[in-house]
Symmetry: C2
């Protein structure tokens, strides 16, 4: 029991100081996060008189757990349903914010004569606002239930997704040194594929498993199961070379569809609070106050740029997406800071050894300053709107008013399902099923080298091994292939119905329609076959054997067609049920 | 973000397997703890095919956090109030259990030809029952609110305290190789002193501080403050060379007196469940199944000894303390297993390198087996009592019945405060105040070498340094010394009142009474002075200076007497208030 004293001492120093600081900053009405960072600086290696931390590595490891629990909680608050509600506006606002801030950051970096990589990472650091800070500030001000707050949360969700895409892209750029459009497309495509398949498979499996566990009423069992899923999924994600932050966020988003969401949130909160405190303290540990003095000038410039840039970009985006000026101003003022995501991006740069050492402390300093201003900015939004309204020349006000009216007139009258709505829905279904098929074949290709070790014993021939693996992938993906075929056929029928009008085609109408609805799916399936072949080129059997496999598969398909349709329908219903279920209060 | 994959992988393996196992064992209606240990064995280094854990050290460290949180939760459930209610019975039962099991364990070890140290540790391993298992089993069987369960919890509390004393004594014996009565007394005296002072000072400070923090309604703040106190205190305890388990238990017991107990329990539960799962898995990690086969015979013998020995010793103790036969049987059957404390003691032996390697796996195996039987034994208690009642010859039954009646007749009729009650109370108060005085001087002696570094600058003379430190200690302990004096005086008055009766002493009655009540305190204070001098011999000033210090102190005392009385009264009231406060629901 007497070993590991160093570790306990570190933890004691971190937690005791965090405890004092959380109370102190609460009294000063400042975000506790700032206090944690300050505590980290105090006990850190750069400030005299004592070197209080002995085993910085272990504390860093615990801090990483903080990232996992922070992103997991963020995922739990993520909701596909909520995202759809505020969807369009949130996407426009978030995109305009990220693009503008990336550009501003890059330009500032270049103006200071930093390297292109430093400038790029600076742009990425400035792009994403801090969900933690915003949620906390809005809760403190009692504004969490207002409609503009809902919109802000929507923007934050979109930012989280785009931020994760940015993490992946930045890793790619950092490793190859450049951003080729092709690589970016492939990277984003893979990410999208991975996210789609994880979400679909996860939502099919995880909430059901948790429902079963939750029946026992034992909090311990539920918690350990939740953590089991969380870490297992994180491990899978890390093995696929994505960041653990992405994994934690995705599995959180999957569990957000569970009926027991509120119980899970309740159980995870203490873990999140404990380890995120450690995480923020470790940020302070890495902060060298001397650097802040050396870089006082860039810090000041960047802070002003973040506040002004985010108010303008996000506020304008919100306004352009059709909200009134007051809401736009409140949204812009609320998101005008950077936070945990910026630290993650900054530490990514450090880990990959592509950014200079000064970037991290600058990010922390700018985050601290902007966080400091956040509550005041939110409170200042309404007075500022009024003052702007008075100061604005009537003509300008008129133009703004007309823009709003014009947008309103563009919106379709709501009614029954439109052709556009139906089409969109079918296309979405086809895409999801295609994603699953692609994932199955990609997974088989990735897994084949490991699997071949086991098969080699009773099947030494390499081509035959390919046949076995490829056939297995084909059988697994069969229900989804059938679904793709059927959905494509209904899409073709629908489009034929619209595009081929009796007025033009005369008595050939129905013949042409049938031809289209028969031909399109067959051609599509050929395309699917080519796609699958390309994805699974590593395990594609030689042509002769491939033909044989396809023939057998065709026979099998004829026998199993009904079964495939049933299986797929069951899964689809299960998915919809999970989505439609409201979490228990 | 990509470093530390090994750690995440370990955690993922541990948590994922723990998740599966918790569900499986719940279905099999077996304690989850067994499942965790089994999971540990599976992923452990002794079982093929894979070596699944990479960084065993980090997982072990996290497991140690499990011990901290387990003991802290145990402390939170500890209640001085509850202990007083079932006090006498619990103490008799726990003592008879621990003494008998220590003896049985030692004898078994000797019979198998093990070394005396192994045999001693075996006895200690068998002595303490498992709070976790019992609480869980009683909750599962729906018996948690029954009166025998309350008694069991009382016994467990006494066992926890005695167990901690045993930990301290065992460390001492292991390091010196022998148990001298003197060292044992000093060790236990120091432990008692430390526990008393910690509890008094802690209960004065911590619940008040937590009340202040809790006003904010922020769970995060409360949790971080609680953890801050917990780890800071653990650090202090570890620095004083006690086990971290003791520290966690004590600070838990201190927080149990907080008004916000239930909120704290709620916040700590997820941390405890997570890390205790890891702790139990690490126990499995250390378990070599081959050892179990080699030692099948001792394991079987010890398992039977634990079950039979605990039923007899604890049941008999309960009966002798005046409970009926059915309650005694139920208590005995409930405590018939060993658990977490046994692992802590076994790992202490390993850490100190005084026990053989086979002791740990034996402890784990016996714990697993006895845990397995616990629910069945609890359920079997009532039928067994009935059968025993029928099978018992009437004469024996009569003797048992008469014993109960005799005990009942011994009990004093309840009424107003008795002289005995009053005396006991004053003596307790004197003891607590003396403990604080002793702690102040001991603390000053310990701290002097560190302090002298700072003083040396402006006070190079070593004797003068002693004067400063000793005087400081005297001033700090003055309110408590005054209290000791005043309480001794009232005790002397009370005793004089009783012992000196007018019938005997005649007209000298009041004179003798006054003489006693004046003399006794003065003599006592002389004794206190000698005690303090002995405790602080390291910093006691030379005689000449000492006399000067004492004269100044006497002058100071004359001036500050009222202030000392007031300060002490304030503290006493504050302490009583905290005790009397019921936790919020």
């Amino acid at each position: 029991m007497h070993h590991g004293i160093g570790f306990i001492q570190d933890l004691a120093v971190v937690m005791a100081l965090a405890g004092v600081v959380t109370v102190l900053f609460h009294r000063l009405k400042q975000p506790v996060v700032l206090g944690y960072i300050a505590a980290g600086v105090i006990i850190g290696p750069y400030t005299p008189p004592f070197q209080l931390i002995h085993d910085e590595q272990t504390i860093q490891t615990l801090g990483e757990l903080g990232v996992v629990f922070l992103m997991f909680s963020l995922g739990l608050e993520f909701s596909l349903r909520k995202l759809v509600e505020v969807g369009a506006t949130a996407i426009v606002a978030a995109l305009s914010e990220i693009v503008l801030m990336l550009w501003i950051g890059y330009e500032i970096g270049s103006a200071f004569g930093w390297s292109p990589m430093d400038s790029l990472f600076l742009g990425a650091i400035l792009a994403i606002s801090s969900t933690t800070i915003i949620v906390k500030a809005l809760a403190d001000l009692g504004l969490k239930r207002e409609s503009f707050a809902q919109l802000v949360f929507g923007i934050l969700i979109v930012e989280d997704i785009l931020g994760i895409a940015m993490l992946v892209l930045l890793s790619g750029i950092a490793q190859t040194g450049e951003l080729s459009a092709g690589i970016a497309l492939v990277t984003l495509g893979k990410l999208l594929l991975f996210m789609t398949v994880s979400l679909v498979v996860g939502i099919l499996v995880v909430p059901r498993a948790l429902n079963y566990v939750a029946k026992s009423q034992s909090d311990e069992m539920l918690l350990v199961s939740v953590l089991g899923f969380c870490f297992a999924f994180c491990l899978l994600v890390v093995k696929l070379d994505y960041s653990i932050a992405l994994g934690a966020f995705l599995i959180g988003a999957i569990m957000a569809e569970s009926r027991h969401l509120h119980r899970i949130e309740h159980l995870i909160a203490p873990l999140r609070d404990t380890f995120s405190a450690i995480f923020f303290v470790t940020i302070g540990l890495m902060l060298n106050p001397a650097v802040l003095v050396d870089y006082a000038w860039p810090i000041a410039v960047i802070t002003i740029a973040v506040i002004a840039g985010k108010i303008v970009s996000c506020g304008l985006g919100t306004f352009l997406a059709g909200k009134d000026g007051r809401t736009a101003m409140r949204v812009g003022m609320t998101v005008s800071q950077i936070g945990e995501f910026s630290f993650i991006i900054a530490s990514l740069g450090l880990t990959l050894k592509v950014t200079s050492a000064f970037l991290y402390p600058i990010a922390v300093a700018v985050s601290a300053l902007t966080t400091l201003f956040t509550p005041y900015l939110i409170r200042a939004a309404d007075p500022l709107t009024r003052r702007l309204g008075h100061a604005m020349p009537p003509t300008v006000a008129n133009v703004f008013g007309m823009y709003g009216q014009w947008l309103g007139s563009l919106r379709p009258a709501s009614g029954g399902p439109t052709v556009f709505g139906l089409t969109r829905r079918i296309i979405l279904q086809i895409a999801v099923n295609l994603a699953i098929v692609a994932a199955v074949f990609l997974g088989a290709s990735y897994g084949a080298p490991y699997g071949s070790r086991f098969i080699t014993g009773w099947l030494p021939s390499e081509p035959m091994q390919r046949v076995v693996v490829w056939s297995a992938a084909l059988v697994v993906s069969m229900p989804f292939l059938v679904a793709v075929y059927r959905k494509t056929k209904s899409l073709a029928l629908l489009l034929a119905e619209i595009s081929v009008q009796p007025a033009k085609a005369g008595r050939f109408t129905s013949a042409i329609r049938y031809a289209i609805s028969d031909l399109v799916p067959v051609v599509s399936m050929l395309g699917v076959f080519l796609l699958v072949s390309a994805l699974s080129s590593a395990i594609l059997p030689p042509t002769g054997l491939l033909v044989a496999v396809l023939l057998v598969a065709a026979l099998l398909l004829a026998v199993l067609w009904r079964w495939c349709v049933r299986i797929h329908a069951t899964m689809q219903i299960a998915l919809r049920e999970t989505f439609d279920e409201q979490p228990d209060p």
